[in-house]
């Protein structure tokens, strides 16, 4: 169970499917999304950039799965537009990719949480790869040259980060649940 060697306290465990957590505060959702967006803007380049997880998509996906009534297709779409502006690329490509992420998260959110966390990570990998495929197809259609194969590494590292991120993002709710 304790696959990721987190300290053996209920505070540091990842919620199992049976656990019922309090719902997150709206401001917490907003702040974590803003932080993830800022983290995406770190001035990296080259291979490190290709390796960098897409924090924004990951946090978006987390909240779309855990709070589907707040974070849905519309919010995801708007987040995608923001990403397009800061990356100065084709306007609307990430909007579409993130909207699809939001839709898939809404479709799967009951099922994904039934799985242990590493299987959730596999689901996340699949969803992120679909989003990247959407971006790839759109860019190739608009005449860009194909990127290097390192392009997919971002999704892989994002999926590897999923367990850590889940633990971090549900920590406040877990503390509140224990205090009650």
């Amino acid at each position: 169970m304790n696959r990721f060697h987190l300290p053996d306290s209920p505070l540091f465990k990842i919620a199992s499917p049976e656990d019922i957590l309090l719902s997150a505060k709206p401001w917490f959702v907003a702040i974590t999304m803003a932080l993830a967006f800022t983290t995406n803007l770190l001035p990296l380049s080259g291979f490190v950039l290709a390796l960098r997880p897409d924090f924004f998509a990951l946090v978006l996906l987390y909240w779309a799965i855990h709070q589907p009534r707040w974070i849905g297709i519309g919010v995801a779409w708007a987040c995608g537009l923001l990403t397009d502006v800061v990356e100065a690329n084709l306007f609307g490509q990430h909007a579409l990719a993130y909207a699809i992420l939001g839709f898939a998260a809404g479709y799967f959110h009951r099922r994904v949480l039934r799985f242990p966390v590493w299987q959730q990570a596999l689901h996340v990998l699949g969803l992120l790869l679909i989003a990247q495929l959407v971006v790839l197809v759109l860019r190739l259609m608009s005449g860009a040259s194909p990127p290097s194969a390192a392009f997919v590494l971002g999704s892989v590292s994002s999926a590897l980060l999923w367990p850590v991120l889940s633990a971090l993002l549900q920590w406040p709710q877990r503390v509140r649940s224990l205090l009650d």
Binding site: G72, A88, P147
Partner: protein, 304 residues
């Protein structure tokens, strides 16, 4: 019991009105995205929207740069005196070389000024330049962009050439209120009109996208092109000032099957590593083409 009464796990019975179904929403936003993409790629009419969002988000981008800036500042603090002295000596030596080159250039320019006065050619004023700092490189894996910050008094113009101390870097493509976007010359299908320094032969240099060297296209197989030739801007488009270094030829392949040679070139500028750049003002607009005058004359005649 299975089958008839079960529904998809994500579709609970609709006790409550929750707005349009997810599929309808996805279709709605998908159609909007594709429409936006089409408009952006074809008509470029969404630049104001893009600019507004980019300006609002810019402080966040600055915040993201802070950790790296702090790291360099801490690093600079620990620069030793010896390092600084060595750098100082090196810079003095470079200055000496540069001033010598400049003196000979001044003499050559005076000579050419005199000659062109004799020939009665209108001499273009030397181009003005504004310095700018590269803040970060583009994050899009499909394109080659860099971003520079822009002071309140700096009047950048989209389309101006951007150079570093070694040669041409690219072109300003979008000017935002607080920063500006450079498209680097390695961007796919980014064309620069060049001439070969040795032979003054004109050609076009095309970028080929990330990770690939630009190439000279449409140069005949039997043209006089050698490895090591230097390419300069030819100013034939009226966009780049003339005689800026662009690239050096690194490989020439001549195929019997194709009429054109394959010529790979290495940009002389530090395309991925530039820190401080100069934004050159556009040269004055070239004289109108004679063909245009002929056309208007003939149409005027027709009207008569």
């Amino acid at each position: 019991m299975h089958g008839r009464f079960t529904s998809l796990p994500s579709e609970p019975p609709r006790f409550f009105n929750r707005g349009p179904s997810p599929i309808a929403r996805l279709t709605f936003f998908g159609v909007i995205s594709i429409a936006i993409m089409f408009i952006d790629a074809r008509f470029r009419t969404l630049e104001t929207v893009r600019m507004a969002i980019a300006t609002v988000v810019y402080p966040v981008q600055q915040a993201a740069l802070l950790p790296a800036q702090m790291a360099t500042r801490v690093g600079q603090f620990f620069d030793t005196r010896d390092d600084l002295r060595a750098e100082n000596t090196k810079l003095k030596a470079e200055l000496l070389v540069a001033s010598q080159a400049q003196q000979s250039q001044v003499a050559a320019k005076q000579e050419s000024d005199r000659l062109s006065k004799l020939l009665n050619i209108s001499q273009t004023a030397s181009t003005k330049a504004q310095a700018a700092r590269v803040v970060y490189l583009g994050r899009d894996p499909f394109s080659q962009k860099a971003f520079v910050d822009r002071g309140a008094t700096q009047a950048f113009e989209s389309g101006s050439a951007v150079v570093d101390e070694l040669g041409l870097l690219g072109q300003l493509t979008r000017v935002h209120p607080l920063f500006a976007e450079i498209t680097l010359l390695t961007e796919k299908d980014f064309a620069v009109p060049v001439k070969i320094e040795r032979t003054s032969m004109r050609a076009l240099l095309y970028g080929r996208g990330p990770g690939k060297l630009p190439e000279l296209r449409y140069v005949a197989s039997n043209a006089d092109v050698k490895e090591g030739d230097l390419l300069l801007t030819s100013s034939i488009d009226g966009l780049y000032p003339s005689n800026i270094r662009v690239a050096r030829i690194t490989g020439v392949q001549r195929d019997a099957e194709s009429a054109f040679a394959r010529i790979e070139c290495m940009p002389t500028a530090a395309v991925a590593g530039a820190e401080t750049v100069l934004v050159l003002d556009k040269p004055p607009a070239p004289a109108p083409r004679p063909a245009l005058e002929v056309a208007t004359e003939s149409s005027a005649k027709k009207r008569r």
